[in-house]
Symmetry: C2
Subunit: 446 residues, 2 copies
Amino acid sequence: MSKRQLSLNLFIYPGGHHEAAWRYQGSAADRILDVSYYQELAQRAEAQKFDAIFFADGPALADNVRYAQRFRFEPITWLAAIAVATKRIGLIATASTTYTEPYNLARLFASLDHLSGGRAGWNIVTTSTAQAAQNFGLPEHPPHHERYERAREYIDVITRLWDSWEDDAVVNDPASGIFADTGKIHPIDHVGKHFRVRGPLNISRTPQGRPVYVQAGSSDDGRAFAARYAEAIFTAHQTLASAQEFYADIKRQARAFDRSPDQVRILPGISPFIASTQAEADLLQDEFNELIQPEYSLTQLRQMIGLDLSGFDLDGPFPRHLIDTGSARGVASRFKLVVDIVDREQPTIRQLVQRLAGARGHWVIAGPPEKIADNIQTWFDNGAADGFNVMPPWLPGGFDIFAEQVVPILRKRGLFRGEYSGTTLRDHFGLSRPQSVFSGSIKAIA
Amino acid sequence: MSKRQLSLNLFIYPGGHHEAAWRYQGSAADRILDVSYYQELAQRAEAQKFDAIFFADGPALADNVRYAQRFRFEPITWLAAIAVATKRIGLIATASTTYTEPYNLARLFASLDHLSGGRAGWNIVTTSTAQAAQNFGLPEHPPHHERYERAREYIDVITRLWDSWEDDAVVNDPASGIFADTGKIHPIDHVGKHFRVRGPLNISRTPQGRPVYVQAGSSDDGRAFAARYAEAIFTAHQTLASAQEFYADIKRQARAFDRSPDQVRILPGISPFIASTQAEADLLQDEFNELIQPEYSLTQLRQMIGLDLSGFDLDGPFPRHLIDTGSARGVASRFKLVVDIVDREQPTIRQLVQRLAGARGHWVIAGPPEKIADNIQTWFDNGAADGFNVMPPWLPGGFDIFAEQVVPILRKRGLFRGEYSGTTLRDHFGLSRPQSVFSGSIKAIA
């Protein structure tokens, strides 16, 4: 295909992305611990030729599990179970550079890439919740810049582990009795500030060479990190202008790192309420917003901006003066996004909560299918997106409507594939397969 | 069933357990990185109503990858892919208490137990190779007693994480908007010498309550640990007498910990060469031994006993005087086993190497099906085993012969099930489902 193509990723949240989705009668709230439910979702996304599915993750229990389905199964095991029920679709999981040993993480993703035939992607996070620190013996959560410093070293370690077997190191010849050409297996001998890792990995190089590097940071550190390492970026924007600024900045920074801008796919989140008419779509969204539980929403908001509003009148003005913009707590990108909404729209607390309930700060849009497709195309054609992280308000129905009503329009306009042209996630995203950094190196294990 | 029943576990090693298995024409040497191969093996074991399959593991590359298929995919991801291709069989993976954070390990196994409907088992190891330490930033491998001290604390942490949601903590009621009864979710607030873990886990309690605790240590520390915590034990013995001593010791120690002896299943390894006659079985074994590569075997031996024999005549006497019995290196249980063989049989180096090549020191037996079944029954009836860890010399054929020719004899004698009577690994092993240690506790997250 010569024409530039959209990437579409299905972000799977148990019952859907609207915080009250699990209370909606069309959601699969009762199947959230049933692996076959997730296999079916992946199969539906694959039938639509989506690039990938994605699971978020965090190694701590969320605060507000009373009012929402906020458990977290371990996503790599889940994706392994999905891999063998699908053939083509990419499989992306979040994992933390702050709370997982690089040798262990390298093995988990290498195994997933092997067993899926080259469909693994790693969403690199530094983990933003202080609760996680307490599950891993740290007195307090490491500060933002220190987490990123560690993450940069982590990437270097894990990249070299994935590269430590050259592609042709495996001989596997029973006749001669030679399994591996050990001259093509390399120790990594990493000695750094945060890690000492000798290597090599104990798994041969994977079908993709390396799983795809995905990232979602939006702070200055996060952007610089993404521009340097990420091959796909999940990002949250409420407006075209904000997405354009982010897109231009990332591509510019990527160039400064001597990277080709097309090797960094930028996918903003979109959470669409779709119906035949605008009025019906608005009504559908209202139906979800009426299921919101304020106790839950205020906890969410407190996590985003570090401000406890439980004593305030929900229908009163949002107390803008109480936000200390100098000290972003929690996820930096979400903090900025909330402040932007408040400054732009002067909402009541309830209005703000409803805005955020849609998809935790991602772009929520309601309307008929043509409008959704038009918006997608506008962002795609105007330097705001290479594709989208599709976040259905509820599942599975919210995805099915998008698939049946919006995807055909995108396809008709020549913006989205009708068939897969490759077999790996790198193929779908149009990413090159990296050569091992050790190709030709003579420092080997034997 | 009132009659005491054997447990049978299929220990899966890529091409089989004989070190030259991958060179044997009947092995699946070319499919070792293909997940469908392992799914098929599990399905065959399930068709025979085996209790479980098992993957060993270690977070470092083995020394001798040149001459053997010594890679290691990450076993929990692999078992997740197998779980969804099977319905009943248990799924056991090794994971290290020395090199994995307990919160991460708790999540991996909890996810596996959820997605398999209660079939996960954890083979608890402290990891015995110095190479692993170098992949995890440690200056040297922690000594044996320190690894076990850490392991005991680890078990306490992970048990309480798995128990941190009571069985009925999940309400999941869309109408009331209550997902979880947070009064039944408990922080574990662990503060110890090796770990500080607040908890709770971010996954609800699993179908088995806790995955099954499996262990394989044979040192004094290892036995005490197994007697206290293990619900199934993998162990290596060359003689009935050795297995009886171990069996009696473990059951006695379990009683001393106030545990019921039947809640500790003891499964010695058995690697059978099976043919119609003894002569043919011996010939089959010879065929494997002729495929052995001495370079590989001597490296293996060096790892077991810390002695480099590469300069010695393979057909000369084993230099017993060079072994320092005061300083067991590597795996303590294997060291003892090698020394016992040397003292009992005075082998040449080649003879010793062939003895060990069978299944890394496990019991290798050659003969017609009746002889294999008789031996199994003798061990089972005479206080040496509750079942066996079946280690086919090669795969898949070595398993198929056992299944077709030995299992029916055991079944005919009423020693082994013809159908599963339960759905979980605990059911198969006859283990009780543990109540959460937090049942009724009032210290909760809200």
